[in-house]
């Protein structure tokens, strides 16, 4: 129960963060979690570094060491998956 609550809180934090890096007038929360926000034009591929920094600073995730493909961080579910894998 606690884990689910924690996951939901992380998801909300993430959506709030994505709102700050999305193109003006586009709300990442209006897309489904599996939608690739880069493919939809909501964020630019260069903005991915902001997501990488977010994951490094907030979750201590080293993408290079874990061999994560930056392109997989284009969707909410992709980012949440990376966070969960980092915890294991």
């Amino acid at each position: 129960m606690n884990q689910m609550h924690e996951r939901e809180r992380e998801r909300e934090d993430l959506l709030a963060f994505l709102d700050t890096i999305a193109r003006p007038g586009i709300e990442p929360s209006s897309f489904s979690d599996d939608t690739n926000l880069i493919d939809e034009g909501a964020i630019d591929s260069l903005a991915l570094i902001q997501i990488i920094s977010y994951l490094e600073q907030k979750h201590g995730l080293d993408l290079q060491a874990r061999g994560v493909d930056p392109n997989d961080l284009g969707s909410v579910s992709g980012i949440m998956g990376a966070i969960e894998r980092a915890r294991r």
Binding site: T20, I21, N36, D39, G41, D44, S45, L46, L48, I49, Q50, I52, S53, E56, D62, L63, Q64, G67, D69, P70, N71
Partner: protein, 476 residues
């Protein structure tokens, strides 16, 4: 109303109509007209027709078209021109026919080897698996050196596929090629929609994500393709008008239509080369207008290729998307030449950023931006024209690439500063007024227009002349 017209390809009723037999016939007729207007090769026209008839065989058909493209490219390289005749042994003559079939087989074998190596990535030595791109590009330069040996001249075609193969090796290193076959990769190696060095449409991973899976998405993709081809027609008209009205060049009919009137602004490359002189204000006008001219050319070129890709059922991003409305340097870079920027980001920016965790955020950003916009930018162009490197011609190398190195340096600096500013402004969001927006757009235009002085194609024009022209803009 305007949005409704410009976004016609998103209207559900139109998408539904485009799936009916009559709708598909009309779609095919319009697509054909536009492809003919843009003078697209016959193989592309044939591919669109066949893919519309047999969408389930898309990749197979496009792989066959890729073989056709190899033959086409080789005929040009080998100077074989059969005219309207078929490519038979009788029509071409025994020797040219044997040369063409032998070369085609050799190129296909080369591609087969590269793809097979990538598809068996996990069996490669550990050092190659750790640095797949460095290993691949090292092999590429060895191949280019070998091309000087008699009988190996075909290896000069390798740079044309370098970045498509780079996408394949990157995908393989991330374990994303499982379950794919040779034909899944052949079709984008020598693509019928555009055999450019820059991989428009990137690699299989990206193309697959945008590939039509049903009749609805195929119709929507084709309508989006038609929209781009129509836009290319409009921009071609604007470009023609601009040539006539601004530069006093261009189609004679158009010139007669405007009564021969023109502002007679000199072309930037002629001013930079010192072939023409003009007052300071006219020189500034030429600098700005050349940015518009270059943007139009790139947009037309990219729209035709991406439009073709969409007609084939790959609804990918366009290459150029309203860059002249960008409010920051980094935004312009993303919108101007999308697939070139994506290449630099994928192969230079991300790897550098991810490997430099030891540095602070600003330093990491600096290193990553310079790796992409400076080093990657230079490397891409040198690889496309490697002659001075292969001949160990240092003087020739500096003469050819010196001006571009200044351009790339300024571009990298501009992007870095722009990214830092963008990050700072995100911390204080708010609406910006129209005058502020206009001021930003003007700033972006000025930056890109001025750095073009070191990038504009002006053969035999060195650093000295370019700096001289730059200073003359300020009366120095």
């Amino acid at each position: 109303m305007i949005r409704s017209i410009s976004q016609f390809h998103e209207h559900e009723r139109l998408v539904a109509a485009a799936q009916t037999v009559a709708g598909r016939c009309i779609l095919w007729a319009v697509a054909t007209l536009l492809l003919v207007w843009h003078e697209v090769n016959a193989l592309m026209f044939l591919s669109v027709t066949l893919v519309m008839l047999f969408p389930g065989w898309r990749r197979m058909l496009l792989s066959l078209a890729a073989i056709g493209m190899i033959v086409d490219v080789l005929m040009e390289k080998l100077d074989i021109d059969p005219g309207p005749a078929l490519l038979t042994r009788e029509a071409l003559g025994a020797l040219p026919w044997m040369t063409l079939t032998g070369s085609t087989t050799a190129v296909l074998a080369m591609i087969l080897v590269a793809i097979t190596v990538a598809l068996h990535f996990e069996k490669l030595p550990a050092v190659i698996r750790r640095f797949p791109l460095i290993a691949f590009h090292s092999a590429l330069w060895v191949a280019l050196l070998l091309s000087y040996l008699p009988g190996f001249a075909l290896l000069t075609m390798a740079p044309g596929m370098a970045w498509r193969l780079s996408y394949l090796f990157t995908q393989a290193s991330r374990g994303k090629t499982a379950g794919t076959r040779f034909r899944d990769h052949l079709f984008y190696m020598v693509p019928v929609y555009g055999t450019t060095v820059t991989p428009i449409g990137k690699g299989l991973d990206y193309l697959s994500r945008h590939e039509s899976r049903d009749s609805r998405s195929f119709a929507a993709s084709q309508l989006a393709g038609i929209k781009l081809l129509l836009l290319a027609v409009i921009w071609t008209g604007v470009q023609g008008l601009m040539s006539v009205l601004v530069y006093g060049r261009g189609p004679e009919q158009l010139s007669a239509w405007v009564g021969g009137w023109s502002m007679d602004v000199p072309l930037l490359h002629r001013l930079v080369a010192g072939n023409e002189a003009s007052p300071m204000l006219v020189a500034w006008a030429s600098v700005y207008l050349d940015l518009i001219r270059a943007t139009l050319s790139l947009a037309i070129w990219g729209h035709v290729i991406v439009g073709g890709l969409r007609l084939l059922g790959f609804n990918v991003f366009r290459n150029t998307y309203k860059p002249l409305l960008a409010e920051s340097i980094v935004d312009f870079w993303s919108r101007y030449y999308f697939y070139f920027k994506e290449l630099l980001v994928e192969f230079f920016f991300y790897p550098t950023y991810l490997r430099s965790t030891w540095a602070g955020l600003r330093t990491r950003l600096f290193l990553a931006v310079f790796a992409a916009a400076f080093f990657g930018n230079m490397y891409y162009h040198v690889l496309a024209h490697p002659e001075t490197v292969l001949n160990f011609d240092l003087v020739g190398f500096w003469e050819q690439w010196g001006p571009r190195s200044i351009y790339s340096l300024l571009l990298a600096l501009g992007i870095w500063i722009s990214m830092l500013r963008q990050q700072a402004s995100r911390a204080r969001p708010g609406r910006t007024s129209i005058p502020v927006q206009l001021r930003r757009i003007a700033g972006v235009w000025t930056f890109y227009a001025v750095i073009r002085i070191w990038n504009v194609a002006a053969p035999e024009t060195g650093m000295g002349e370019r700096f001289e022209f730059f200073l003359s803009l300020f009366g120095i």
